[in-house]
Symmetry: C2
Subunit: 112 residues, 2 copies
C-alpha cells in the first residue's frame, strides 16, 4: 500500500475503530490491522499523534488506566465524534465513487 494514499482518510478509520466500544491506542492500531487483513498497519508514530489530534478536536475522549503493569490511554467516541464519523463515511462514499469513475475501474472490490 502506497504510504501517501492514506492521507486525509486516517481520522475516519480511527473513529470507525472506536465505534463498537472504547479501545486504547495500541488496540486501535491492532483492530485496524485486523479488519483490513494487514493492509493498513499503521506505525505508532502515526497512530498516537492522530489520536491526540482527535482528542483535542473533541471527537474522542481518553482516560488513563494501568492494566498488567502497563499504562494505557483508552479512548471513546464523543457525540461529535459519531457525527464526524458519519460525515467521514459519506465523504468516503463520494470520494470513492468519483475516483472509481475517473479511474475507469468499473469493478468494485469484493465486499468480503
Amino acid at each position: 500500500m502506497r504510504a501517501e494514499a492514506l492521507k486525509g482518510h486516517l481520522d475516519g478509520l480511527l473513529l470507525a475503530a472506536l465505534e463498537d466500544g472504547p479501545l486504547h491506542g495500541y488496540a486501535v492500531k491492532e483492530a485496524l490491522r485486523e479488519t483490513t487483513e494487514g493492509r493498513i498497519d499503521l506505525p505508532t508514530g502515526t497512530v498516537y499523534p492522530a489520536l491526540h489530534r482527535l482528542e483535542r478536536a473533541d471527537l474522542i475522549t481518553g482516560s488513563w488506566s494501568v492494566v498488567g503493569g502497563r499504562r494505557r490511554r483508552t479512548y471513546e467516541l464523543t457525540a461529535a465524534g459519531r457525527t464526524a464519523l458519519s460525515g467521514e463515511r459519506a465523504g468516503w462514499q463520494e470520494f470513492a465513487t468519483a475516483v472509481t469513475a475517473a479511474l475507469g475501474a468499473r469493478q468494485w472490490p469484493a465486499t468480503t
Copy 2:
C-alpha cells in the same frame, strides 16, 4: 469533497484521463470534471505541476502546438505510463477495499 482526500491518488486519475487518447492539460482537467460529475474539479495549480511531474517521470510525453491562437501542450501515455496506470488501479482497489472494510461502510457506491 475534502481537499486532502485526493492526496496520493492524483497521478492515477491523470493517467486514466489520458488512456483513451492524447489530451492537453486543460482538457485533462475538464475530462476529470466531467467523468466525476463535478466532484473532482482540480485547480490549475494542481493539474499543471502534476503533469510536469508525470512527464519528468516519463509516464507521459508532451508536445506543444497552437490551436486557435492558443498554445497547448498535449500529453500522451508512454508505455511506462500504461504500466503505472494499471498499478494505480490495482493499488486503488486494494486501498478502497481496506478503507471500506475499516470504515465498516458495507455498501459500495452505485456504479452510476
